[in-house]
């Protein structure tokens, strides 16, 4: 059958063509080890975009998740993931590792 409805494909192509955003913004290293974040308290400047380089040193996968920040990012075991933080108002923004909620907890403090 032919493509009767090109809209989804156009949207898909537009997605792929979307330019990746390259920005020179401060990057903070965060490590996951034994299902804990280090540092568990991350201080970022308020009002500025920040990138977190999250390195998962466990063999298990982890999902970096923050409801406050609307972030869900799966990071497979032994790999790294980039988490972009939008410019934040001053305040505390908790996050968790969804696959190990008991121990993997942290908070981002924008100040």
């Amino acid at each position: 059958m032919g493509i009767r409805h090109p809209l989804p494909l156009i949207a898909f192509a537009a997605c792929l063509a979307f330019p990746a955003v390259a920005r020179a913004e401060p990057a903070i290293d965060v490590t996951i080890k034994d299902h804990r974040f280090t540092p568990a308290e991350i201080h970022v400047p308020a009002g500025k975009p920040v990138t977190l380089n999250v390195k998962n040193e466990d063999e298990t996968a982890e999902e970096f998740e923050s409801h406050d920040l609307k972030i869900e990012k799966v990071i497979a075991g032994g790999t790294s993931g980039t988490v972009r933080l939008r410019p934040l108002d001053p305040g505390k923004y908790p996050f968790i590792g969804e696959y190990h909620e008991d121990t993997a907890k942290g908070v981002i403090v924008a100040e």
Partner: protein, 282 residues
């Protein structure tokens, strides 16, 4: 084991609810089971491939590959659901009538089936790849005993499928003449919710940087990570802290689908004798 059960249950539930709605929306269409099963199996295969290349996908586009991938999968699903609803708007009434005459709806069911099989496949692909990554990690680390993990995984799948089956059976209890209006309505909200999720991923990846402010916070009333919150999140796109862009896209998607449906419905209602004659002869 319990942790495995809970994680697997959550992901299976999200995909399962979508499959349940699709199955209800195709009630009475022959071969729908084959199409949906094909979509689910293809989605599972795709989930394994995505999980295997997770870090490569994630590293693309300056580390925003995962977000972009998720957004594209979601947008594609929104397109397919829109296509289904628009098609049903012009053919739905005839299908409901035909269902009384056994066999006559065979040809008419073909097109939305493809779209909906793709939707099932995409849902399984997205949620399944997370399950595969999670289970593989647990398996590789040897933290949980393998039998315990397998048991937790199986129970999680069964529980997720069970709740999805409840939704499906609940929908089937609706009389056929009303069923397709209900499923079209559900699919409209489902599509709008998926579009809003796509926006969240685009914002997370840094592609959309406008309208990021939070419109409301109902996390005290109905947290999104509660069971009811998760159900509503999947079904109608409930978010306890939506961004302005998510809300705008949600409303826009609902308006767009309804407009397309109504324009199609009125076109189908307009008598066109010349066209009807040509099609009947060909």
């Amino acid at each position: 084991m319990l942790a495995t059960l809970v994680i697997v249950f959550r992901e299976v539930l999200e995909a399962g609810l979508i499959v349940g709605i699709v199955l209800a929306a195709t009630k009475g269409v022959p071969a729908r089971g084959v199409w949906v099963a094909f979509g689910v199996v293809a989605g599972l295969a795709g989930a394994c491939i995505v999980a295997a290349f997770a870090s490569e996908i994630g590293a693309l586009f300056a580390g925003s590959g995962q977000e972009l991938f998720n957004a594209c999968v979601l947008i594609l699903a929104v397109g397919m659901l829109t296509w289904h609803n628009v098609w049903m708007a012009s053919h739905g009434r005839k299908i409901a009538q035909d269902m009384k005459r056994v066999g006559s709806e065979v040809a008419s069911g073909e097109r939305p089936l493809l779209a909906l099989a793709v939707v099932c496949g995409l849902a399984v692909l997205r949620e399944g790849s997370e399950v595969v990554l999670f289970l593989y990690g647990v398996f590789a680390s040897g933290e949980t005993s393998v039998p315990g993990m397998i048991l937790g995984g199986i129970l999680g799948v069964l529980a997720g499928a069970g709740v999805s089956a409840l939704l499906y059976l609940g929908l089937l209890a609706i009389p056929t003449r009303r069923l397709f209006s209900v499923t079209s309505g559900l699919i409209t909200l489902l599509a709008a919710g998926l579009a809003a999720q796509a926006v969240a991923f685009l914002q997370q990846g840094g592609y959309v940087e406008i309208l990021t402010s939070t419109v409301w916070d109902t996390s005290w009333l109905l947290p999104e990570d509660s069971l009811a919150g998760r159900l509503l999140h999947t079904l109608i796109g409930y978010t306890d802290r939506p961004s302005a862009a998510q809300l705008v896209v949600y409303l826009f998607t609902v308006a767009l689908i309804l407009t397309l449906m109504y324009s199609q419905r009125s076109r189908a209602a307009t008598p066109r004798p010349a066209v009807a004659e040509i099609t009947s002869r060909s």
